[in-house]
């Protein structure tokens, strides 16, 4: 994954968006196909989400994004639906780990309300630590990712990353 | 209703059970149009059946057709799918009853029939025979009971009851 050129439309949500509204628990053992997962993404919060995210999206969200369950489908469904990165004022701990582990850039950043409006084109450079609003021209900076997290993201997630180590070792 | 029903044949074998006709995983559905989507879903001929959806159809089964559960989803799904009638060498009682109740004629064949999938069939209700238009052969069918006939003419059991049909039959 290229870390310097992440682009998508801004989709904005509030604080404490939890894993049950991102991916309802009732589907966790019956829905396995990633594209079907994507069709249920944010189902109980924003039923139009899959169509809005399809062309590529950057989520701008409030505090404690992804609180609740440890279910990784809550990351996978967003990724499959077209989410390229999540900018959150803060993340729930497990969600943050899961996002990085599945290769979805999760950026903790206290973005100001006037940074973007719904639908603005957002560009992110993880190497430089910059988020830019291409529609309006503003930009924000954040601490560049620690090297080991960048490696996981660049590899495309923890599976390919570990695979490289496991297979490389043996 | 028409006294001659015409449709393309769809042929099944003996002991077609209600789980095969309509699987238990869809029992929660209550709209026949939705039920139709799941008709014979697990059957080897399921995809062929979907190719001919939209045509007028007549189902031909063997012995003990519709055995198993009391689910009326089975005949409701058949009717909503486009089946005009079902014929079989014998029927399970509940299926047979359910079929008439939801206005799908279910008639017993009195002899083995020579019919292939896609043959054009004509069911002559008054004469009680089944005609295979491809071969020109006629097969004997057991005439309907008068009560079944009345229910069918009324368009099913509910219209029959609502139009006072019971008064003629009750003691």
């Amino acid at each position: 994954m290229k870390l310097d050129r992440i682009r998508g439309k801004a989709l904005i949500y509030g604080d404490h968006v939890n894993t049950d509204v991102i991916f309802p628990g009732k589907y966790t053992y019956t829905v396995k196909d990633p594209s079907e997962m994507a069709s249920h993404a944010m189902e109980d919060l924003d039923p139009n989400f899959p169509s809005r995210a399809r062309e590529g999206a950057v989520l701008l969200v409030g505090k404690n994004f992804g609180c609740g369950s440890s279910r990784e489908q809550a990351v996978l469904c967003l990724k499959e639906a077209g989410v390229r990165a999540i900018l959150a004022r803060s993340f729930a701990r497990i969600y943050y780990r899961n996002a990085i582990n599945l290769g979805l850039p999760a950026i903790k950043l206290d973005w100001p309300e006037d940074f973007a409006l719904e639908g603005d084109e957002i560009s992110i450079d993880l190497e430089m630590g910059v988020a830019e609003n291409l529609s309006r021209g503003g930009f924000l900076s954040f601490p560049p990712f620690p090297a080991h997290l960048r490696e996981i993201l660049e590899a495309g997630g923890l599976v390919p990353y570990t695979r490289r180590k496991v297979v490389g070792r043996t | 209703m028409d006294r001659v029903l015409e449709g393309k044949a769809f042929v099944l074998g003996d002991d077609v059970d209600t789980d095969l006709l309509y699987h238990n995983r869809y029992l929660h559905l209550i709209r026949p149009e939705e039920m139709a989507d799941h008709l014979l879903e697990e059957h080897p001929k399921a995809s062929y059946l979907r190719e001919i959806r939209g045509d007028d159809l007549i189902m031909v089964g063997g012995k003990n057709f519709g055995c198993g559960s009391s689910r009326e989803h089975a005949p409701k799904a058949m009717r909503a799918f486009g089946f005009k009638a079902v014929l079989a060498l014998s029927f399970s009682r509940i299926f047979h009853r359910n079929a008439f109740n939801c206005a799908l004629p279910a008639l017993q064949l009195l002899e083995e029939v020579e019919v292939q999938d896609g043959d054009l069939l004509r069911l002559h209700l008054d004469e009680a025979w089944l005609e295979n238009a491809r071969t020109g052969e006629l097969f004997r069918v057991k005439p309907m009971e008068p009560l079944e006939e009345e229910i069918l003419r009324a368009g099913g059991l509910i219209p029959f009851v609502l139009r006072g049909g019971v008064a003629r039959w009750a003691p």
């Binding site: 404490h16 939890n18 894993t19 049950d20 509204v21 309802p24 628990g25 009732k26 966790t28 053992y29 019956t30 396995k32 189902e43 109980d44 919060l45 505090k63 404690n64 609180c67 609740g68 369950s69 440890s70 279910r71 990784e72 990351v75 803060s90 729930a92 701990r93 497990i94 780990r97 899961n98 582990n101 599945l102 080991h148 997630g157 923890l158 599976v159 570990t162 695979r163 180590k165 496991v166 297979v167 | 995983r25």
Partner: protein, 419 residues
């Protein structure tokens, strides 16, 4: 070498040098817990190119999320897990049989971990094992796969929050769940995000292991990485009666905390969490009268013998006025409750006693809600759609409040139904 928090001590002992909050370390967990999601973990494990689990003796797998299997999809998932268990020689496997139950409950019931142990679980409520004095944190399933493959993972040594408990609860109508909801209402859903929470104080010594599990379990609802209780005599008894040793590990006097909270247990009153967050909790008396369609007594939060016993004391000889599902957290709980006549009393009162498991807690099995229905549950989470239907509502409370409200058919303060 200055005073250290519990988390700092656990990770220092794991890596063999002194580490402090804020450092990233690589450590080997002592116990790795997963459940019906083990088939997914297995798939990621294979995708990683791994073939042999590094330490099968550290892996514990429990089937609990949908048992016995309600659909062919669940059945296939269980079968995959049985195959991997067999092929990898995993001995701590709890199948659909009468040894098992909800993973967090069985870990504590059988004391699969002890003081100072590092436990990871592919489930957010892994924090429950902190009742045993362990450091227990939830992880995602991909991460669990990498731990299966390598035996280790990275941890940020967390900062800590100290919660001091004083005094004791006034009566059995008030308990640990009310305290947990009170804490959630004050901290908010992220009040302990990434923190290690330490429960301590003379108030804690009066609490049963079951109460401590409830407290640690609910830590997940305030974002805690781990919640742990100071090891004491009561824990020593719990461990020794299960043939386990007891080597206490705890924070030092004067360790550094990001915050300190103190609760006087006498001041705690029955609490209820309103939809749609556990931290939207208020005293029951402020919400009394809300009509209820279903009551659920169970889950890893409140499905233990003590919980069922409180409910039975309120319900025996009375009739419930709504649907009441009782789902013991494990077969061990089920057997003990059966032996004590608790289950009979509950069934006589009109409850349905279901086989142990997670039940409808996350909308997978037994007791899913319809549109517009309201469920009062003793579980831990009431987000929108949690029990299957986004237009249903879930309230969270203690078993006492749940049982008292079951009698009334609407939310009541359990003290009004006290015998």
């Amino acid at each position: 070498m200055g005073p250290m928090t519990f988390a700092e001590k656990v990770f220092s002992s794991k890596v063999g040098r002194e580490v402090r909050a804020g450092e990233v370390v690589v450590a080997e967990p002592d116990l790795c817990v997963s459940h019906d999601n083990s088939a997914y973990i297995w798939r990621s494990f294979l995708e990683m190119g791994a073939s042999k689990i590094a330490h099968p003796e550290r892996i514990a797998i429990f089937l609990d999320h949908a048992v016995p299997a309600p659909t062919p999809e669940h059945a296939e998932n269980h079968r995959t897990i049985r195959e991997l268990v067999r092929s990898q020689g995993i001995e701590l496997f709890f199948d659909v049989d009468s040894r098992g139950g909800v993973c967090h409950q069985v870990v504590c019931e059988l004391a699969l971990a002890g003081p100072g142990d590092l436990v990871v679980g592919a489930d957010s409520h892994t924090t429950t094992a902190g009742a045993l004095g362990a450091f227990a944190a939830g992880v995602g399933r991909t991460e669990m796969a990498s731990i299966w493959a390598t035996g280790h993972t990275w941890f940020l040594v967390p900062e800590s929050l100290r919660v001091e408990l004083k005094g004791s609860f006034v009566d059995e109508m008030v308990g640990a769940k009310d305290l947990a909801l009170r804490i959630a209402s004050e901290l908010g859903p992220d009040g302990a995000d990434y923190l290690s929470v330490e429960f301590d104080g003379e108030g804690l010594r009066g609490l049963s292991i079951s109460d401590r599990m409830t407290l640690c379990n609910m830590g997940a609802e305030v974002g805690a990485k781990s919640c742990s209780c100071r090891p004491d005599e009561r824990l020593r008894e719990h461990l020794s009666s299960r043939g386990k040793g007891f080597e206490p590990l705890w924070s030092d006097e004067g360790a550094s905390y990001v915050g300190r909270l103190t609760y006087r247990l006498e001041e705690i009153e029955p609490m209820v969490a309103l939809p749609e967050s556990p931290s939207d909790a208020v005293p029951v008396r402020e919400a009394e009268g809300m009509p209820i369609d279903q009551v659920l007594i169970g889950s890893c939060t409140n499905g233990r013998v003590e919980d069922l016993e409180v409910a039975a004391r309120l319900l025996s000889g009375r009739r419930v006025s709504c649907r009441v599902l009782v789902i013991p957290a494990s077969w061990g709980v089920y057997r003990e409750a059966l032996r004590r006549g608790i289950l009979e009393a509950l069934v006589d009162a009109g409850c349905v006693v279901c086989p142990p498991g997670c039940g409808p807690c996350m909308g997978n099995h037994m007791g899913v809600l319809a549109e517009g229905e309201v469920c009062l549950s003793t579980s831990n989470r009431n987000f929108r759609g949690r029990m299957g239907n986004p237009k249903a509502k879930v309230l969270l409370s203690s078993p006492a409040t749940a049982a008292a409200s079951a009698i009334a058919g609407y939310l009541v303060d359990p003290r009004s139904k006290r015998r």
